[in-house]
């Protein structure tokens, strides 16, 4: 009976990756490798002001002094930075911004991914910034949003049009010295999204960035900066896919969020980078630094992530709770199947009084997947009445995978209340048979059970994406139960 269960498991978790196609788009690529020269070329390509070039160079020089950390519970093949192309962009078009001047192949690519570059009526609730390899190719609903004073554009445009905002906030939450991959990003980042919600404005639509890696041997280094001014609200979603390739590709991004007084930011991620094949060949290295600063009083930042892709996921979307009464939340579902690895979690740093944080992490391991939760709850001396609740659950499918939890607590204030709960469970053969006996196939049964397990997190996603996320969970575990 062990054998049967293995078979079902392996059937359900060996489904195919749907977004593995490659598009033949005319690209402008710089030679591979990394040097000060390359940093200057990237900056020149983007016609950047001197201050930004200086920021890049300072980061690059600092990076040279750093070593890749070895503390995560991950096996990472050595990365040769001289073999990576650090900038690749679709060839310059005559009239940027106009949909007609976008390479039709590029449009087809996004159509195939289900991301409309046209502003379509039935998708009027979502504004999209589409990023392919190193650059943003189109941002929809820019004008509609501008009427309310909301700025939503590519990072490059923001540097040109809103240099003061960029200068003021860039690096304020994730400094250029922060960590190995954040410092690398600060040196070579090429594009990303920028968003500013003015005082008192509730953003009427979901803002989203769709990241696509297309070119071979190319790294993607984007930067997202999101600022929610006083009393504002925004819900933001990012999605990511990449072609199937035998070599690993590096994605090292930075996301910075600033929430001023009474502002609320909801940041959701549906990460579906190419996970590698069944033998563990290829796949994206997803090494990302995401951090939000609850700067103002009573502000709130909420991270929700559904991580199903990438060969290796290594990220900790975190909150610095500086404002009094501010709130940080982290809801995560991370799936590792076949030979995927994930070391993910969060850091909640309580600085202000009466700050609250909630952590709900759900790991799902199948195949030979290894899933680690790593989280830090830190309560500083002046953070009286800080409160944290953490819940880490692990679900195992099969007996070759692993789940690990590394919770850390540093509490320097005796009024803090910190709670931690953890569970580990296995999808049982009895549960599957019970579903079978009611007419539900084994695959559907696993889908039901996994989605039931992840429901608490999926419910935090914007409605339109919750359904997608459910399907994605099922697909990424296809062929895994056996």
């Amino acid at each position: 009976m062990e054998k049967d269960q293995d078979k079902i498991l392996s059937d359900v978790t060996t489904g195919e990756y749907k977004y593995g196609f490659y598009s033949d788009i005319e690209m402008d690529r710089i030679p591979k490798g990394l040097s000060e020269e390359v940093v200057r070329i990237i900056s020149a390509k983007k016609n950047e002001p001197q201050w930004l070039l200086d920021f890049r160079l300072k980061s690059y020089r600092h990076w040279l002094t750093m070593k890749m950390p070895t503390w995560p519970n991950l096996k990472i093949a050595p990365i040769n930075y001289q073999e990576i192309i650090f900038y690749a962009a679709p060839k310059e078009r005559k009239n940027p911004g106009s949909i007609d001047d976008i390479d039709p192949e590029l449009k087809r690519t996004f159509d195939k991914l289900g991301i409309p570059l046209q502003e379509q009526k039935h998708l009027a609730g979502v504004a999209v910034d589409a990023v392919i390899d190193s650059v943003s190719v189109k941002t929809t609903f820019k004008e509609t949003l501008a009427e309310m004073g909301i700025i939503f554009c590519s990072f490059s445009d923001a540097v040109k049009e809103y240099p003061d905002l960029v200068k003021r906030y860039m690096g304020s939450v994730v400094p250029y010295t922060d960590n190995f991959f954040a410092t690398l990003n600060s040196a070579v980042f090429s594009d990303g999204s920028f968003c500013y919600i003015p005082k008192g404005v509730r953003c009427p639509m979901e803002l989203s960035t769709y990241f696509r890696i297309n070119s071979a041997n190319t790294g993607q280094f984007e930067r997202t900066l999101l600022i929610a001014d006083e009393e504002s609200y925004v819900s933001y979603l990012e999605g990511c896919t990449a072609p199937s390739r035998d070599e690993n590709q590096l994605h090292a991004a930075i996301v910075e969020i600033v929430a001023e007084k009474n502002a609320e930011v909801k940041y959701s991620t549906v990460q579906n980078w190419y996970p590698g094949d069944k033998e563990g060949r290829g796949g994206v290295f997803n090494f990302v630094t995401k951090r939000g600063m609850c700067k103002g009083e009573s502000s709130k930042i909420s991270w929700t992530q559904i991580e199903t892709g990438s060969a290796i996921t290594w990220k900790y979307p975190s909150c610095i709770l500086r404002g009094d009464n501010s709130t940080g939340e982290f809801y995560s579902v991370a799936v590792t199947n076949n030979y995927q690895q994930a070391d993910t979690g969060t850091k909640m740093t309580h600085i202000g009084k009466n700050t609250k944080s909630t952590i709900v992490s759900k790991g799902i391991s199948a195949g030979h997947g290894q899933n680690s939760y790593r989280g830090l709850v830190k309560v500083l001396k002046n953070a009286s009445n800080a409160r944290n609740y953490s819940q880490c659950d692990s679900l195992l499918l099969g007996d070759k995978c692993g789940a690990h939890t590394f919770p850390y607590l540093e509490v320097d204030n005796s009024t803090a209340i910190v709670e931690h709960e953890a569970t580990t469970s296995k999808i049982g053969e009895d549960q599957i048979f019970y579903c079978n006996q009611r007419g539900i196939s084994t695959e559907d049964a696993i889908g039901l059970i996994v989605n039931g397990y992840a429901r608490e997190v999926i419910n935090k996603l914007p409605m339109e994406f919750a359904v997608e996320a459910q399907k994605l969970l099922q697909i990424s575990l296809e062929g895994s139960v056996g």
């Binding site: 009976m1 019970y434 079978n436 006996q437 007419g439 559907d444 989605n451 039931g452 992840a454 429901r455």
Partner: protein, 254 residues
């Protein structure tokens, strides 16, 4: 409906069923009684398609088809329902979602469109009343945190939702107080029709005060050793299983 012929089965090399033959016709209720360890639950497991039971000999024909070749979910969709002796908990999966999936799989099998959300909820409401199940149960996860009695009532509720042709109730009465027993039995009686059948597996006679069987079989050591009308159940209640055991041993001697 169901014809079992000389069925032999073992678990982990140990022979459990040693040649069972049974013929269940549409509209009939069969009770299978017997002491612990006689093979009652193994028989239920074979009919539902549990893979840990190894079939070594015999045939099972259900509605003219070879039942033993069918996958468990196909048996279910063809109308076989097993009321579990120990219903399984599935945390995080709501009863509504679970039943909706099951009902729609059954409909798909019959070439019908899925039920609309409102039709489905109406069906749930109707059936809940039928089996007097607490309406809050429907919003909870499948069997999670249910009391023993609630779990058994939930089995009957699912049976009502799926309207099987052949329902096998595996010791549904065990662990029930008298009220729950009455509700479970009422559920069965209300669902009984001329074209569907029940196999009620029980250790005690008391369930058969409420569900009146057409035929009573006594299973002992992997064989059906006695078959008679409903009066057999009463006789067993009075004399216990030792009487049967003695009778068999005497037969062997003589």
């Amino acid at each position: 409906m169901l014809i079992i012929n000389n069925l032999k089965a073992s678990i982990g090399g140990k022979s459990i069923l040693k040649g069972i033959s049974l013929n269940v016709k549409p509209g009939e209720i069969h009770a299978i009684m017997g002491p612990n360890g006689s093979g009652k639950s193994t028989l239920a497991a074979v009919l539902a398609g549990r893979e840990f039971v190894e079939i070594t000999e015999g045939t099972v024909t259900y509605l003219g088809k070879n039942l033993l070749e069918m996958a468990p979910e196909d048996r279910a969709k063809e109308g076989i329902f097993l009321g579990f002796q120990y219903p399984i908990e599935i945390p995080g999966v709501s009863m509504v979602n679970f039943m909706k999936t099951a009902v729609n799989e059954h409909r798909k099998h019959k070439g019908l469109d899925p039920l609309s959300a409102s039709d489905f909820l109406k069906l749930m409401r109707d059936k809940k009343e039928l089996v007097e199940i607490d309406s809050k149960l429907a919003n909870r996860s499948v069997n999670e945190g249910f009391s023993g009695g609630e779990k058994k009532k939930n089995e009957i509720f699912q049976m009502a939702m799926l309207e099987p042709k052949l329902a096998i109730l595996d010791e549904t009465d065990s662990g029930l107080d008298i009220d729950a027993l009455r509700i479970v039995a009422n559920g069965v009686n209300k669902l009984k029709r001329p074209d569907n059948s029940f196999i009620v597996i029980t250790h005690y006679q008391r369930l058969l005060d409420y569900i009146v069987p057409d035929v009573v079989h006594v299973l002992y050591d992997g064989r059906i050793v006695k078959t008679a009308g409903k009066e057999l159940a009463l006789e067993l209640e009075e004399k216990g299983y030792d009487w049967i055991k003695k009778e068999i041993e005497n037969n062997v001697v003589s």
